[in-house]
Symmetry: none
Subunit: 197 residues, 4 copies
């Protein structure tokens, strides 16, 4: 009713868009992509299907937006660039591992969606690039850290840590609350902390 400036409108649209993506992500992750209909999403966002289609060309594009969003949320550290500079590689690795476990505990669906898409990476072509890029980036980041720690085989170690993280996510999905998430976290972190250097 009140007149809006162009800017306000644009902001409103951006906010709405994010809400759609976030709700869609939740549904995709909990029910699976094919088990979630556009109608379901529209209902969740409390918005008509028609309007939803003014934000995203089609379901696949919305999926990609959801993946982007999930990956950003899941891999973002709770540290600023400045804080990062003051840490040793060992400490950064600790931060990464802890960050991962936090996401796993607090935003289960994020990982559920990411991993399930990682596996069926080939079945929806447009998804492939996005997912595999993130895996490569993450592995490279770990690899560099191991290099600076003077690890004898950094590439190998980066792959192994990455695998361990994904695998724990899967076990957590399968075993549910009976899985000793905390204990395993301690164990892994200690493993890296006690390495020479």
């Amino acid at each position: 009713m009140s007149p809006r400036t162009e800017k306000q409108l644009a902001e409103h649209r951006t906010a709405k868009r994010e809400q759609i993506v976030s709700d869609a992500l939740f549904l995709f992750a909990t029910r699976g992509y094919f088990n979630t209909s556009i109608s379901d999403i529209a209902k969740e966002v409390k918005m008509s299907k028609g309007l939803l289609y003014s934000y995203f060309e089609n379901k696949e594009q919305l999926l990609n937006a959801a993946i982007d969003f999930a990956l950003k949320e899941a891999t973002e550290l709770n540290l600023t660039e400045d804080q990062l500079k003051e840490l040793t590689p060992k400490e950064i690795i600790k931060e990464i591992i802890e960050g991962f476990f936090t996401v796993l505990e607090e935003k289960k669906e994020l990982w559920s969606l990411i991993v399930s898409l990682a596996i069926h990476v080939g079945s929806i072509p447009s998804v492939h690039t996005t997912i595999s890029k993130v895996y490569k980036d993450l592995t490279l980041q770990l690899q560099e850290l191991f290099v600076s720690m003077g690890h004898p085989d950094p590439e190998n170690e980066a792959f192994k840590l990455g695998a361990l993280i994904d695998g724990i996510g899967i076990q957590y999905m399968v075993f549910g609350e009976s899985y000793p998430l905390r204990k395993i976290k301690e164990n892994i972190i200690n493993g890296y902390m006690n390495q020479k250097k």
Copy 2:
């Protein structure tokens, strides 16, 4: 004159059934369960939909058959009971790890299906029990081996090895042929072989 060698018919049916399961498994694993239609499977097996339904009551039952098949193939060792008895725990673990890598290289789809189901384990109820049981069994088996190796924290170590194995599977899906599967295998096996005891 008689209605044709009864036994041959039964054998033919068994063989056909296995072919269906194997083809369905391939499609489920590469394209995803919901993305694979019964028509797709019928086309793959070169058989009418109707006939397919004389083998399996519905799509979900076929999925369960595929999972059974995948789990059996994927977890079966190439050793007889007798051979197993002559090995030390360390050597058995080596066998298990090697067996897993072999499956991963030779029957990619098996792992792809299993893991993808493991993640969305809740969305198809009839699947839940089967999958989580296998995860539990496998973890227990590893745990016992670590116990007999005198490992200080066998449960933890069993979870970690299980996670590592799953995670490597995922990375292999994402990175494809560029993934240094062999090298990582050597590295992991060496890691376990060099442990005290």
Copy 3:
């Protein structure tokens, strides 16, 4: 500018819904429930199958709606409560019989559907309750009328009149226009009018 007269939409939907029910009833009654496909109905209503399913969850629910509709139309008298109070039991029975014959002549399908369902009452569970309830209600209503007419065996007489009515409906289906519906009506009514009291 506003999303279009909300009320009109709702009214339109109600009207459309009634049209579907009425057309479906006609097809169910003339061709049988199992012999009428959703496609047939959609074609009759000139509407896509998809839209039809936005009105009724499934075929069985549409059948139940058709039964409700048929029962209401078929058992409703053309009299108001007030008019009813001024009539003697004998006159009410006359009204009931005449009402039945009117429905039979003017809305053949109504009775056709009801009776055909009455017979196979067990084969579609959700239908059973509805149908048998109406039969019970109607019989009781007749019974009470015979009681107040001082009939020596009201229950028996109620069953007999009910049976007569159903049976005439069937004969009318079988014999078609050659059946002397009017004459039989007169005869039955006279029979009841001439009874003592």
Copy 4:
């Protein structure tokens, strides 16, 4: 294994045919025509579908055979021609009514099938002739009896008795065992017995 004469073979075929018809009738009547598959029938008769098709060209032909069979069974009196000659019209009517009630009690399905087909008489064309012929025959037979009883309006009375009989069948289907079949039978018979002449 033992050699058969042509005659024995033919007899065997006739017997088998009758068994098929009788079993099919039972299934059609209890589950409905469209709810009974050829496979169901083959299973009931313990015979392959292929062989079944050597007896009947198609499902519709089998239905017609079942109707024929049902009508014969349902309308046949337990009296010989000779016995019939010695009865008065009144007594014959009594026999007919009692015969009907016996069938209703002992072979529920017969009536269930006949009536349900009578109603949907139009939906399967080949059935129409058969059914309506029997209704005509029966009505005529009753009419003649009422003529010889000197009834003032024999046609009307014949229709009414026919209708009553069908209607009672329907009520029996709907109300089940709670329906006072016996009592109603007595009442109807008494009604006709006490008529003057």
